[in-house]
Symmetry: C2
Subunit: 342 residues, 2 copies
């Protein structure tokens, strides 16, 4: 069977109506509301064809039709028009974010909240990945007898501190010496560039403090490694509860449990964004609990390189056009803001 213009119009009308009402759509409704200029009977024939082609399905005979996963896919790929987003929303986004470009984490936090509020779906953001981290600067500062804090400054500009235990007899000179030696050996290196020789060189230069050095090296390692991990920000989970397809607690629970698995979320968001936004519908997400959910994902950039991802999760019946427009807008805004923070 071949797709023709009228079939496309019927499919589009069915999908739009179902997205708006969540009720199976009948031939009468379509003929009346979406003035196609044909009678319900004709629409009926077309719908029957569309069902045979796999784009529509019937919950049971004598209910209307609902879009199948394939139907949504066709819609998203060929029929959907991007919703023109009012300048108002663009303004809201920029105004909300512009005042908060001090700390990356805070910015991401805010962006994900904004995204979920604008759409009433659930927003994910993968925090910016700054490539292999190299160590710019280390400093060991005393805080009290037996305790010190290691300040770790990464090349990305990220700063971190960790508390370590140190011998009580250390004096100011010792602190300075330890800092200097660590800087001397480790500055400018990524974790991958470390090798036993370097660590041994550190110990050789200051063997008296072997125990302390060991601890510090460990926290630096953790820190380089940790920053290498992309944090996941998640907002608007409760929006799910407003969707009629999530009336049964079991589905909600399954999904919420999924939300707690960071690794899974990352995998869901990591896909090929060469050509911009990617939409994954229902089982395309390859995850039992995601059945009935769609995910709109995008990537944001720095200097032309992908550094993080944005995701928006809703029911398969989600308002794709609006979702895509807003995700796009938020992605641009975030890219902008991160550029400004440099």
């Amino acid at each position: 069977m071949k797709m023709d213009e009228r079939k496309r119009r019927v499919l589009l009308a069915t999908i739009l109506d179902y997205i708006a009402t969540a009720d199976p759509v009948g031939s009468r409704t379509i003929a009346r509301k979406y003035n196609l200029g044909v009678s319900p009977a004709t629409v009926r024939n077309e719908m029957s064809d569309l069902e045979e082609m796999g784009y529509l399905e019937q919950p049971h005979t004598s209910a209307g039709r609902i879009p199948s996963q394939l139907g949504y896919r066709y819609y998203v790929d060929f029929l959907m028009k991007k919703e023109p987003i009012e300048g108002e929303i663009r303004d809201i986004i920029y105004q909300t974010l512009l005042n908060r470009i001090r700390e990356t984490d805070e910015l991401i936090q805010l962006t994900s909240k904004l995204l979920s509020q604008l759409t009433n779906y659930t927003a994910f953001i993968l925090a910016p990945f700054c490539g292999e981290n190299t160590l710019r600067h280390i400093k060991l500062l005393p805080i009290e007898e037996g305790k010190a804090v290691v300040i770790i400054v990464l090349d990305s500009g990220h700063v971190e501190h960790r508390i370590v235990e140190v011998p009580e007899y250390l004096n100011e000179g010792d602190y300075a010496a330890i800092s200097a030696i660590l800087n001397g050996h480790l500055q400018g290196l990524t974790l991958e560039q470390w090798h036993p020789g370097i660590i041994q060189a550190v110990y050789r230069d200051l063997d008296r403090q072997r125990e302390t050095l060991k601890q510090i090296i460990e926290v630096i390692e953790q820190s380089l490694d940790y920053e290498h991990e992309q944090k996941v920000f998640l907002k608007g989970t409760l929006n799910i509860l407003d969707q009629p397809e999530f009336k049964q607690i079991e589905r909600v629970k399954a999904l919420f449990e999924l939300f707690e698995e960071e690794e899974t979320i990352k995998n869901l968001l990591h896909c090929d964004h060469e050509n911009g936004i990617v939409i994954k519908i229902g089982t395309e997400n390859r995850h039992e609990s995601m059945k009935g959910c769609s995910l709109v994902t995008a990537a944001y950039h720095r200097q032309g390189k992908v550094i993080g991802n944005i995701g928006l999760l809703g029911p398969t019946r989600m308002e794709y056009s609006r979702a895509v427009s807003i995700v796009e807008l938020v992605t641009y805004a975030l890219t902008d803001m991160l550029e400004k923070m440099r």
Copy 2:
């Protein structure tokens, strides 16, 4: 009407059975399962009396009885025996926590997770409050052109860092000078002890860097103030979904929304713990969304002073005896751990 021994036994049996099954309890069940040595008819009379006294209620005539809020209250105050907790659980608690006494936040995080896992309810912990924070030490370190990090060490041992923008022309001497001046004026003071004179003194000593100082003073202020705020740790929210009383999405949503209001949670947990554990049943929590929920709370101490609270939230039909025992155990363990961390 007077409470007598047999009434108490009937009430206890009803409550225990209802807690175990979540089904209204009939006279037959009680007479049979909880061998009181009397016939169902007698039990029926007693139950009727207990209903009149307000301890039991009927969902409808010809259902069994369920405990009223007052019934639970009587149970908790007079009938409940603490469940003897096996040493096994004590061991689990200590083993889990002992390896993690490096960072307070991590310890609290882990403790709340543990509490929720052991009980299958939702666990809250208010992070330790360390009294008015005084500033022990400040240090300003350069990180890159135009950026520096302020390291703030509080008297509680807590360390924090914040990034500030600085003029690009600052040299090493300037950094040292700024650090020294700030330390000189602000060391050992709480936020309350700050006054305009002190701030002016800082500016007088280093007026050239007025802009930088202003920023730094602001972050110190934030930091002292922020640490003054008690963070709320929340774990096991999804456990709620396993309870039959939370079949309707609306109730779940109301409760989850409550969970996002930190202030409200704090108010719920802050109550008079002079005599140990406090149990608040249903509307005793004075919060619409908490209808049908009970909260077992406790306080943990340092040097005899309350520094934080622990809460466990379940349905009013919760296993109070087990909950209380475990909350008690976890509270002791946490107090212990924090003592060791000093």
